[in-house]
């Protein structure tokens, strides 16, 4: 009973009218900026920090948290309708979401995404409630060697995510890894590929690359295709998914939520990796993987459940350990400090009202978002009825302004343009942009942690095997790599009994 009393008190805090209002404001802003490409939750929260000076700490954080998870809902809308991921964590939603929209099933995609997000978010809050007090020891066992193994696994999964030719995916991923090496070497201070330009000293930023390749590249490509008239779906009908869609995606939502929850807890993990991993997992599990990329409902359900679960569970390391798991959490950390609250191991005991108030506000926020997602979808669909000649320049303008606001840097605008041209050319010549962008994200993570690990091991790579978590991850890595080869071998050997192979595959995955 001692455990539940503060939880119940937390609900009392949320239900105060001011807090409810700020929760609503937060999720509406979050939804909006999720839709606007470029302007991410981190930038928005930073911009709105001054607004929080005048209110109670718990109220401020409830609003800022609402922006963060609200953005996960909103990011989906542009991914599905415009093939513009509003957030990095919605990148994989593009693959099947946009394909569904092209088939006139945008409503189904958005409905499933909203339900999946709601379910994922709710699972994560329940998990947060139960796990927060005990999670402390677990996250800290993830050191550099574990991140190395995780990044390797991630990059391998990237290669299996894309649809086009394997060779082209590998080329794109290699380019992504190469781009990740730009900037001041974090171990020696040596400049790499910076051409004496200070704007490159910290390396290339993820946002301009993603916005350029996905956003601008797509707009350019579409303008060229104008004569072929690829019409945007005129209407979003049937937002409530059909029974069949629900049946198809319920498993994916459940698995995505759990995976997202656990990946979100890990510092440095978060929504992007979670959505990617969930998508890859569903594709691998599916008996009909060829449907993925062509409009599979599971391909939307899994990553959307996962990114929302991860967004919510990334509050766990912040609120229990005082360790921000990603950039947005770092800013919320800053917001708490401004309020005179220091997140850390003592927060749950010292400030139970704040802790449980924020956690419980997420239940309310997710319900608000679910209610909003369905009717508001119609408003966003109207954007699609605008002609491309008008929509394209407006989108470019929003993208450019959005990118500028993140670092107040003109250089980033040039980057978007350069990567927009690259994205256009890649698309024209049949290269998938996904592997490039995702390999870019994981590349620096891999390099830094590999070098850090080797420093810790005194240069002996055997150290990776000596640690339980990293050795398990490396085993999974080997399994994922060898599985297609084994499958091929099995198929050859037992060409007469394909059913056995399929069952074997299932066992491996579970």
């Amino acid at each position: 009973m001692d455990f539940f009393a503060p939880v119940i008190n937390g609900f009392g805090v949320v239900l105060e009218p001011t807090n409810l209002l700020y929760c609503l404001i937060g999720v509406v802003i979050g939804m909006l900026i999720g839709v606007l490409p470029g302007l991410g939750p981190a930038a928005t929260i930073a911009i709105l920090l001054p607004l929080t000076y005048g209110v109670e700490p718990v109220t401020a954080i409830i609003m800022l948290a609402g922006i963060f998870y609200g953005a996960q809902y909103g990011g989906t809308i542009t991914s599905v309708l415009l093939r513009l991921p509003g957030e990095a964590s919605s990148v994989v939603t593009v693959f099947d979401g946009y394909a569904l929209a092209r088939q006139g099933k945008a409503g189904t995609a958005l409905g499933i995404a909203a339900l999946g997000s709601f379910f994922g978010g709710t699972v994560a809050i329940i998990g947060l409630t139960l796990l927060a007090p005990v999670v402390a020891g677990f996250a800290l066992d993830f050191g550099p060697p574990e991140y190395t193994a995780l990044a390797m696994l991630g990059i391998l999964l990237v290669a299996t995510v894309s649809n086009g030719s394997k060779l082209k995916s590998i080329i794109a991923a290699s380019l992504g890894l190469l781009l990740a090496t730009v900037g001041r070497d974090t171990f020696t201070g040596e400049s790499r590929f910076t051409f004496d330009n200070l704007s490159l000293a910290d390396g290339l930023d993820f946002v301009p690359i993603a916005m350029g390749i996905f956003g601008l590249g797509e707009i350019l490509y579409n303008l060229e295709e104008r004569h072929n008239k690829v019409q945007a779906p005129a209407k979003v009908a049937n937002v409530w998914p059909s029974r069949k869609d629900l049946k198809e995606s319920s498993g994916a939502i459940g698995r995505g939520s759990l995976l997202g929850f656990f990946l979100g807890i890990l510092p440095g993990g978060g929504a992007t990796i979670a959505s990617l991993a969930a998508y890859a997992m569903e594709k691998k599990r599916s008996k009909t993987p060829e449907r993925f990329g062509r409009g599979a409902v599971e391909g939307v359900a899994a990553p959307e459940s996962a990114n929302n679960a991860a967004a919510t569970s990334s509050f766990i390391p912040l609120l229990t350990l005082g360790i921000p798991a990603n950039a947005t959490m770092a800013i919320i950390f800053g917001a708490l400090l401004i309020q005179g609250v220091t997140p850390g191991p003592q927060l749950v005991q010292n400030d139970p009202e704040l802790f449980w108030g924020v956690v419980n506000s997420m239940y309310i926020g997710n319900i608000l978002l679910l209610i909003m997602s369905i009717p508001l979808v119609g408003v966003f669909v109207k954007i699609l009825r605008v002609r491309a000649a008008i929509l394209a320049p407006i989108t470019v303008l929003i993208t450019v302004i959005g990118v500028y606001t993140i670092n107040n840097s003109i250089f980033d605008i040039w980057l978007v343009i350069v990567f927009g041209i690259l994205g256009y050319l890649m698309k024209k010549f049949g290269f998938e942009p996904g592997p490039l962008v995702l390999a870019f994200v994981l590349g620096s993570l891999l390099e830094e942690n590999l070098r850090r690990s080797l420093l810790l091991f005194g240069g002996d790579p055997a150290g990776f095997v000596g640690r339980p978590i990293s050795s398990v991850l490396l085993l999974v890595f080997a399994a994922v790599m060898l599985l297609p080869l084994l499958q091929k071998a099995f198929k050859k050997a037992r060409a007469s009994a394909p059913a056995t192979t399929a069952r074997h595959d299932e066992k491996e995955r579970v």
């Binding site: 930073a46 911009i47 920090l49 001054p50 996250a139 800290l140 066992d141 993830f142 050191g143 550099p144 001041r184 070497d185 974090t186 171990f187 020696t188 201070g189 040596e190 400049s191 004496d196 330009n197 200070l198 704007s199 000293a201 910290d202 510092p267 350990l321 005082g322 360790i323 921000p324 950039a327 770092a330 800013i331 950390f333 800053g334 917001a335 400090l337 401004i338 005179g340 220091t342 997140p343 850390g344 191991p345 003592q346 450019v400 302004i401 500028y404 606001t405 670092n407 107040n408 840097s409 003109i410 250089f411 830094e448 850090r452 420093l455 810790l456 005194g458």
Partner: protein
């Protein structure tokens, strides 16, 4: 050198995306160094932009914002804050250095950028304190060497007697954390491997998870874990004991010549008229005296170091020389040589 066109264009930015969109088309005409308001009577002739070379939410950003809020009243003009992160703040600092010297564009300076970063990176990427008109020092942020409480190590003696090789986490290459530890361990004859992390929070996480044996991070970041009993403070690297950790000795007291702190100051481009600098100085002085600003310092565990601007320039130049001498004397290499 970085492309001058970017720098000149960007000084037009006033923080709003709209103004910037305009500047894309209206750019060009602003040449650095022309002083038109020599008497300062017309100053401030509009909002005074305070540029911060760090991400929103970090300690440099918090300090800048608290200062802007409390100084805008006495100055009689709004002080919008613009974040231009990158290259340890070098991008923002260089940009303001090249801005019009009329006092309308200010920047928060980090001492490490002038005194420590040059020890690790190439000359083209560094900035010099002589190129700025320092208005006033702001505060001091101390580094503390910490161990995981489960290691049982609490003092320098524990470390030197352990007789083992340590992995020590730094907050990055070319930071005070790296310099302080490298110098300390060299002087104490402790064998160790320098493991750079991307900032204080990842370094502390690694120490809490026993991934590394030691770490040097900023006091405000370490404090919650020290209070919770998860980390042991060994030494602080300030010259005098830190008011928030009065029981922890300084490295100097422990017998090592390692005085390293992070100082911050606010500055204008070189050539800003004396009258304008004086006006700014007075406004910031008034901001320092407000209760709101004082309690901000206390909450964030910053030690006030509201030193006169000219003294700051001298101190920082002396620190740069001192660090250079120490690294040469003890053969410490922060950059390339690994």
């Amino acid at each position: 050198m970085n492309k001058p066109t970017f720098t000149r264009r960007s000084i037009l930015a006033t923080g709003s995306a709209f103004a910037l969109a305009l500047s894309l088309t209206a750019c060009g005409g602003n040449v650095a160094g022309s002083s038109s308001t020599a008497d300062g009577s017309k100053f401030p002739s509009g909002p005074v932009t305070l540029t911060i070379g760090a991400d929103p939410g970090g300690s440099t950003d918090l300090i800048g914002r608290a200062l802007a809020e409390n100084a805008s009243g006495p100055l009689g003009a709004p002080i919008p804050v613009v974040n231009k992160p990158g290259a340890n703040g070098a991008i923002a600092t260089k940009e303001v250095g090249a801005a019009k010297a009329d006092g309308q564009t200010l920047v928060i300076l980090n001492a490490s950028l002038f005194a420590i970063t040059p020890l690790a990176v190439s000359a083209g990427e560094t900035v010099k304190i002589e190129d700025y008109e320092v208005i006033t020092g702001i505060s001091q942020d101390d580094y503390v060497l910490v161990t995981n409480a489960s290691s049982g190590m609490k003092t320098m003696d524990d470390l030197t007697k352990a007789g083992k090789k340590f992995n020590f986490a730094t907050t990055g290459v070319g930071t005070g954390s790296q310099l302080a530890q490298a110098l300390l361990f060299k002087q104490a004859n402790i064998d160790g491997t320098d493991v750079p992390f991307d900032g204080g929070s990842p370094a502390m996480t690694a120490l809490l998870g026993n991934q590394v044996d030691l770490a040097t991070i900023q006091l405000a970041e370490a404090m919650p874990q020290i209070k919770a009993g998860k980390l042991n403070p060994v030494v602080v690297f300030s010259k005098e004991r830190n008011q928030y950790l009065p029981d922890t000795p300084t490295a100097v007291e422990a017998g090592y010549d390692v005085p390293v702190s992070q100082f911050r100051a606010v500055a204008a481009p070189k050539g800003t008229p004396e009258a304008v600098v004086t006006k700014l100085r007075d406004s910031f002085k008034k901001a320092f005296e407000t209760e709101a600003y004082k309690s901000f310092n206390e909450q964030n565990l910053f030690t006030a170091a509201e030193i006169d601007g000219d003294q700051v320039a001298k101190d920082w130049a002396a620190n740069a020389a001192k660090y250079k001498e120490l690294t040469e004397k003890y053969d410490v290499d922060l950059g390339g040589g690994k």
